[in-house]
């Protein structure tokens, strides 16, 4: 049963790294209880999963996890989170994902026993529902395998259940390339929220069955796609910033259905979700440059309860294997934030993180603490998903215009032109969800199976 947030859990000055209103406590790890903890992620080097014997794949995971734990112990780190992001063949073959989960959980238990290293294991199956075009979101073999994957991994020792769900992506992929805010609202909010509600009720149910924690989702395939394309000069940066604000509405649904955090690292919208929910969040920034570039390397740290490297291939660097290098970078980042917090300087340090990025890019600007509070407030002021999305988009435009006019944000003339265009579009959108849906549905009928979102064809 979905329970909608209608107020903010945290104000601007309480919106700090390492501190959540409702920390998560498990296995001796406290996430959001005053300390920022590293979340380490990794992937395999180039190889074919299908053509590599399972014992060889498991040996690679054993090597990676053992090595990162060794480094964490060596550096005196007392707790960490390990994320096992299942690759597509491991989700399609749930026993395979289960077996690797059990292996990693076993290694973490060994380090807990031998060295007192407290840890949590997050598992993230791939949203394999994307394999069908248009995707079947509520039924079919892929949906069954996905849920079986969650269940098996949870029983095998996973602590945190997460996913990068893709509901609505069949629309947003095209909408991003056209910088079409209407399409983003339709795909991300109208379709995306409906899918999130359906999917997360299932995940929360599995968590209850198995004793695992329903952690959180991310609109990575929407918000980060736009952000990275903007960084490459393909789409306007102001568009990507507005997309980010809208994605918060979609990702929020997981917490309204029962997820309790920590939110997935690649959801930069987690900043807004932390203000609304008070739940702990994982974030990634400069130390995730091994996975992708971004304009929010420092500012993302403002809200981190877990600090992640996003993903890195297990390849040899001069210092050692890449996941070990990432582990070390995360530990040092966390140490610095935690020392600042220990001296009562979290707010000052957070503001430095924010100010070092916010004026240089609109994506960073809308993720600065005061903007985050503004966006979070706009979202909870509405109780309908479409209206929330519209409120977030309008607020983002307002914040960007204000930043520009006050000289706090630098925008090129081309970007300013696009900000005007986007502002015009969102000001003209209907306030009634029904009117909006009637206008958008026919445009996307060849790409979306509306029944899979619980939307009747004639609606």
């Amino acid at each position: 049963m979905r329970k909608r947030f209608n107020s903010l859990a945290l104000g601007a000055d309480a919106l700090l790294f390492g501190v959540a209103r409702t920390p998560l406590k498990r296995n001796g790890v406290v996430v959001g209880g005053g300390t920022v903890i590293p979340e380490i992620k990794f992937t395999l080097p180039p190889l074919s999963i299908e053509e590599t014997p399972t014992d060889e794949i498991e040996a690679m995971y054993r090597e990676i996890v053992t090595a990162v734990c060794d480094r964490a112990v060596h550096l005196g780190q007392q707790s960490l989170v390990v994320e096992f992001e299942l690759l597509p063949p491991m989700t399609v073959d749930p026993p395979m994902g289960e077996s690797i989960t059990a292996l990693i959980a076993g290694i973490l238990a060994e380090f807990r026993g031998a060295h007192g290293l407290q840890s949590l294991l997050r598992i993230t199956p791939v949203d394999i529902r994307e394999q069908n075009k248009p995707p079947l979101r509520r039924r079919g073999r892929e949906m069954e395998l996905l849920l079986d994957s969650f269940r098996r991994c949870a029983r095998a020792g996973a602590d945190l259940l997460s996913i990068e769900s893709t509901g609505g992506k069949e629309v947003t992929d095209q909408a991003i390339m056209s910088a079409d805010v209407r399409g983003i609202l339709f795909g991300s909010v109208v379709l995306g929220c409906a899918d999130m509600e359906f999917l997360w009720e299932k995940i929360v149910g599995i968590a209850r069955e198995t004793g695992a924690v329903p952690a959180g989702d991310t609109a990575c395939g929407i918000g980060n796609t736009a952000m990275v394309l903007a960084d490459q000069g393909y789409v306007p940066r102001v568009f990507a910033a507005v997309v980010r604000a809208i994605t918060a509405v979609r990702s929020l649904v997981a917490y309204e259905v029962g997820a309790v955090g920590p939110g997935k690292d690649c959801g930069y919208e987690n900043a807004i979700l932390k203000a609304i929910t008070g739940l702990p969040m994982s974030m990634e920034g400069k130390s995730a440059a091994c996975a992708h570039l971004s304009p929010v390397g420092n500012i993302a740290g403002c809200y981190a309860d877990l600090w992640s490297n996003e993903s890195v291939q297990n390849i040899k660097l001069l210092a050692g294997m890449a996941p070990v290098v990432s582990m070390e970078q995360l530990v040092y980042d966390c140490r610095l934030m935690n020392v600042a917090a220990g001296k009562g300087e979290s707010l000052r340090f957070r503001d430095w993180l924010s100010e070092s990025d916010a004026g240089l890019d609109p994506q960073a600007f809308v993720l600065s603490p005061n903007a985050v509070i503004g966006l979070a407030g706009a979202i909870v002021s509405e109780q309908n998903d479409y209206r929330r999305g519209l409120a977030a988009a309008r607020k983002a435009v307002e914040l960007l215009r204000e930043g520009l006019s006050k000289g706090r944000l630098i925008l090129s003339e081309r970007e300013q032109d696009w900000l005007s265009r986007i502002g015009q579009t969102v000001s003209e959108l209907p306030s009634e969800p029904k009117d909006f849906i009637i206008g958008e549905k026919p445009k996307w009928k060849d790409h979306v199976n509306y029944g899979e979102y619980g939307i009747p064809d004639e609606a």
């Binding site: 180039p46 390339m177 910088a179 079409d180 696009w418």
Partner: protein
Amino acid sequence: MDRYAEIAQHVQNGYSEKARKAVEAALAEGCPAGRVLKEGLIAGMEVVAAKFKSGQMFLPEVLAVAGAMKAGMELVKPLLVAANHEPLGKVVLGTVRGDMHDIGKNLVAIMLQGAGFDVVDLGTDVRVEKFIEAIERENPDIIGMSALLTTTMVHMKTVIEVLKQRDLRTRVKVIVGGAPISKNFASEIGADGYARDAATAVDVVKDLLDNK
């Protein structure tokens, strides 16, 4: 301004209706369809592609231009087919087996279509047999493979090996791209070209076809 330059200008501006009318007028005046295509539609698109590549235009603006080019192409294409006009080239694209990422591949498709190439998009999670079937069916000049995962990029090599086994390798050139792909990797697996992004994919395809 002559008719060809007028068409090119309307394409550059992304004015679909004006581009269509200018093409219609040019054809009515007896301008050869091949010249309308090359000196009008493609010439306009080339200016835009150069601006996109140098960061002066965004993709949504390029898409508007591609719409104007398409409006003109709809009038020109039947005449070109009837005259057995040699097409610029055909490219079959796909994201390899086990990989469902397709934004990068879709961008490449848009840029190639905008440059006047015929593009057949096989979608995502494309197995080797599907590439082979498409080569037999479509007779493309080039196949382009995309991958975003380290655990799927290796399937590019498999496709190239199967092309060799089936004696198809000499019929098509192969280009590859995607986040984990490098020029070295492309060389190692025997690809003919590596496209680091959508804008350069067009240049790579043109170079390969020029040297075919």
